[in-house]
């Protein structure tokens, strides 16, 4: 019997808007209403200018691989059947340096390289209530 996968609390107020967007297959991050900078993870105020007012804006579901790890020993029982798997840090295209963490799927872990082009893959839970964002090689990207 495998353990239930640990899912985000999509009702947690600070993060709620992000998960509402992924349910619509969009990736949104916070944009400061005062200085205009983008930020992630969600925070109540801007990490550059300190203003609390912000909007959620869509960013492209594309990016490049910044760093990664290939996990061979599951740290949570829900991932026991998945090992070995890669988790990557993705620098978002047009995201002003904003990075996100996710699984890198549909790729041989031995072929991962810094700077390789990736695109988002939306992974819904069985009941569609939670949609995670994973990443896969973007074979259509220029230079890919």
């Amino acid at each position: 019997m495998s353990a239930a996968p640990p899912l985000p609390n999509v009702d947690y107020l600070e993060h709620k808007a992000f998960w509402e967007a992924t349910r619509k297959r969009r990736i949104e991050v916070q944009k400061c209403a005062q200085c205009g900078s983008l930020r992630f993870p969600p925070r109540p105020s801007c990490t550059r200018c300190g203003a609390m007012e912000h909007a959620w804006v869509e960013v492209a579901g594309k990016g490049t691989l910044f760093s990664w790890t290939v996990t061979h020993v599951a740290m949570h029982p829900a991932f026991a059947a998945a090992v070995p798997y890669a988790v990557g840090v993705v620098e978002l295209s047009g995201g002003e340096g904003v990075r996100m963490l996710g699984r890198v799927v549909n790729a041989d872990p031995a072929q991962l390289r810094t700077g390789m082009a990736l695109r988002a893959v939306f992974e819904p839970s069985a009941d569609e209530r939670v949609v995670l964002v994973n990443w896969e090689p973007d074979r259509d990207a220029v230079g890919a």
């Binding site: 640990p6 963490l101 810094t114």
Partner: protein
Amino acid sequence: MTASAKSLSDEVCIVGVGQTEFNRGSGVSNVALATRASLLACADAGLDPSEIDGILPPHQGTSACAEDLMAALRVRELRYTAIVYMGGASAVASLQTAAIALASGLCNYVLAVRARNGFSERTGSNAAHLISILPGSHYRRDFELPYGFSSPVQWYSLMARRHIEEFGTTREQLGHVALAMRRHANLNPHAQMHAKALTMEQYLASRPISEPYHLLDCCLETDGGSAIVLTTRERARTMRHPVVSLAGFAEGHSDSPDDLVNRRDWHSIGLTRAAPRAFDMAGLGPQDMDAAMIYDCFTFEVLQQLEESGFCPRGEGGPFVAGGNIELGGRLPVNTHGGLLSEGHISGMNHIVEAVQQLRGHCGARQVANARHVYVSGWGDLGDGSAAILRREGA
């Protein structure tokens, strides 16, 4: 450096150190381990334990609390207690807390202790528990754990991988850290790995955990405890050991302190900010250190902390550790006790104990000749850092 911080230099001293046996199966409780280490530290100081009036207990909630220790040591008047909550950076950061409590006159004798059945009651694989005690626990729960990412070996492997890609750092270079720690442990009868040799072939062949980290890149799991007793310089001079003072100390936190992924300067850590402040307080620089005790939760973290502390430029840690510099007899012997990698994981309190023993000249086969200044670092959570420079009086 603030004006008042510099005035704390050398005002406070470590006058007692004590450690239980380090093993995998203590057969006693966390509280018993903490009590034993504390009693040994008081005995080493020649101090009646009931004289302790400040306690900095372990940061792990599963270990002894100040009240446990107050009862166990028959403390008469506990005037101050605080938990320094910086993961593995806590032990070294607690030196600063002790210094404030003592230099202000609030306390006469402060006890700082770390003790835990880290093997017998290990929680490292209990992802939900680990996340609940970390900074940014909501972020961990929502944006990391669902992706199968929940453990220090995974967090720090991202940092190691980026360093490898950017600077050409190699697995063999990381292996030199593991080998140096093991050779030092082979000279230390107290070390868990005292009797076990390690070769580069064995290191390279160890099984992957979360690449680039393999098993022998990871620290030990240990049952045991380490404790120190601190007091003011005036009192220390009347006590039984050579005086070892806190010449400089600092804690530091990087930007994005609860999130490794969106740190603007990827390679910066808390120590990047803490180390220069600690050196400034001491009026010394990295070149003045006779040895360094670096928080070695994983091999790469040694390399990174050497860089960020200023012992070598950023990006050059690989060649630095591979060139023999960190071995006994090298330019900067690192973790002469064997560290968390080969002596035992006592959350870095054992690093402070080793620094004191080196400065007292009590290290036998692994003694650094005429050690006068020893650097100690702490590393915890998502890159929090702490640094201290210990000085032998008269040096």
